[in-house]
């Protein structure tokens, strides 16, 4: 019986302490500075057997005002658009998922490290809802209409992978973004304005390019890959001539073609895509099969394109 008295007396004294001064009697840690005035009003934040509930937090911290207005006037408050967007758009998680209390009176101790993984997938996919104001104003980002997650990931923002399909029709205008990346060599300098990189390059891998010389002319032992053998004008690689070797003198070529009844033989690669004379286009098709009757006999010609 004596033991029971001790038990009951202690219990009553303890309950009295909890009721009159709960902060000193049972609080598990120092409250943050902003909540200091609530220290003996546990139920302002807590619900019985439910902990600190979000609804009670929102009674003071209105979602639409978080980051924009201080809860209490006169406090040291720095507006933050980021905080506002974050709290307005992420509504599916409880406040206590990110915010701690009873951990000390400094603000930093009351915030856990944020992870995008705690947000619902549907919210996480709408990056711009929170991050739109951070979107770069450069040409690329202005063109892209997709959500950031299409190229970026939340683990490492700088490790972005651009899917050029995101650019829509603008994908074809490489120079919008890549003009500065264009090499200063003769080949690229010879490209006319408006000619697009995509003619030779792909967006999935810039190197190697898809430029295929065999579409224009097949190299062989007598026609090696030395560019300056044929591209002699110095005005770019679209210009070429076949009249620089002993085999292809202008007079000899003219005589040979005229003998065949071919009047227009100025653009050699139009018919000769290799050094194999017999493989020339139209060979054996009779005179009617020969193209063109132009009298232009300029020694240098410009490619008319590799595709037939």
């Amino acid at each position: 019986m004596r033991t029971l008295y001790f038990f009951l007396a202690t219990l009553l004294l303890g309950i009295a302490a909890v009721v009159t001064a709960p902060y000193y009697a049972i609080n598990p840690g120092v409250l943050s500075h902003g909540h200091e005035d609530l220290k003996n009003d546990c139920m302002k934040c807590h619900s019985l057997a439910a902990g600190a509930v979000t609804d009670k937090c929102l009674e003071c911290h209105k979602r639409e005002s978080i980051g924009l207005k201080p809860v209490k006037a006169g406090t040291n408050f720095e507006p933050s658009q980021r905080n506002n967007l974050l709290h307005r758009n992420i509504t599916e998680i409880e406040c206590v998922t990110c915010h701690l209390e009873h951990t000390g009176d400094t603000k930093n101790l009351a915030i856990k490290k944020f992870s995008h993984q705690i947000i619902a997938t549907s919210t996480r996919e709408k990056c711009s809802a929170c991050h739109d104001y951070q979107k770069p104003k450069d040409e690329l980002h202005t063109l892209v209409k997709d959500e950031c997650g299409k190229c970026h990931n939340t683990e490492n923002w700088k490790e972005a992978t651009l899917d050029h399909e995101s650019l829509g029709a603008e994908k074809a205008n490489c120079s919008n973004c890549h003009e500065k990346d264009k090499p200063a060599d003769d080949l690229h300098a010879s490209l006319a304005k408006g000619e697009q990189c995509a003619a030779c390059h792909t967006t999935s891998a810039w190197k190697p390019s898809t430029f295929d010389h065999t579409k224009y002319f097949v190299f062989d032992r007598n026609h090696p890959e030395t560019c300056t053998n044929c591209h002699t004008s110095g005005t770019g690689y679209k210009q070429y001539t076949c009249y620089n070797c002993h085999e292809h003198s202008e007079a000899k070529i003219a005589r040979k073609h005229q003998k065949e009844g071919i009047a227009d033989f100025t653009n050699c690669v139009k018919c000769h895509r290799s050094g194999d004379e017999d493989a020339a286009k139209g060979k054996g098709e009779g005179e009617g099969g020969r193209e063109g009757k132009r009298e232009n006999k300029g020694g240098e010609r410009e490619h008319e394109g590799g595709e037939d």
């Binding site: 004596r2 033991t3 029971l4 001790f6 038990f7 009951l8 202690t10 219990l11 303890g14 309950i15 302490a17 909890v18 902060y23 000193y24 009697a25 049972i26 609080n27 598990p28 840690g29 120092v30 546990c42 807590h46 019985l48 057997a49 439910a50 902990g51 600190a52 509930v53 206590v96 009873h102």
Partner: protein, 186 residues
């Protein structure tokens, strides 16, 4: 000295082991586990009270001697768990008073262990003395004499141990109920 040494070592060990576990948890960054040590420690201590139920004949299963050993072992282990759970944080009065009361109860229990050893020694000495004085074994083993010796010292100890235990239990109960009411269990 030999009789009191085990109790002193057990009490020192309680404090040292608790500090070492706490240091270990902090050093590997899992101090939060200490929160759950509170539940584990409470469960161990509650289990140790099986001895008290047996002693008061509220249950009949088990040998009192074995259950006393269980009471001592689980009480000590539960004590370690609770000290780690409390850590060295002075946040609220009631949890700290409960922790302090528990340490006092364990110290009291170890004092009881020492007293029991001493009483057993006294009985042995008494048997030797009675034998030398020519008493028959039947006379020596008169339970009345032995029991009166045993009950005398242990009864005085129990008068201190049980109220201390009651104070500890009341404070622990407030702490547990307070936590259950304020914590989020979702």
């Amino acid at each position: 000295m030999n009789k009191i040494l085990p109790s002193v070592l057990l009490f020192t060990g309680l404090i040292v082991v608790s500090i070492l576990i706490d240091l270990l948890l902090h050093s590997i960054g899992i101090a939060w586990i200490g929160r759950y040590f509170g539940i584990l420690g409470t469960a161990l201590i509650i289990t140790s009270f099986i001895y008290s139920l047996r002693k008061r004949k509220l249950i009949t299963a088990g040998q009192p001697k074995s259950l006393l050993n269980l009471h001592e072992t689980l009480g000590w282990l539960g004590g370690v768990m609770i000290i780690v759970h409390g850590g060295i944080h002075f946040n609220a009065v009631i949890p700290w008073m409960a922790l302090f009361a528990m340490v006092v109860v364990i110290a009291s229990g170890l004092t009881g262990k020492y007293l029991l050893t001493e009483v057993k020694g006294d009985l042995k000495d008494r048997v030797v003395e009675l034998k030398e004085r020519g008493f028959t074994p039947e006379e020596i083993e008169r339970d009345v004499l032995f029991q009166s010796l045993l009950v005398g010292k242990m009864q005085k100890w129990r008068k201190v141990h049980m109220p201390l235990n009651a104070i500890f239990m009341a404070l622990a109960l407030i702490h547990i109920i307070g936590t259950l009411l304020m914590w989020s269990w979702r």
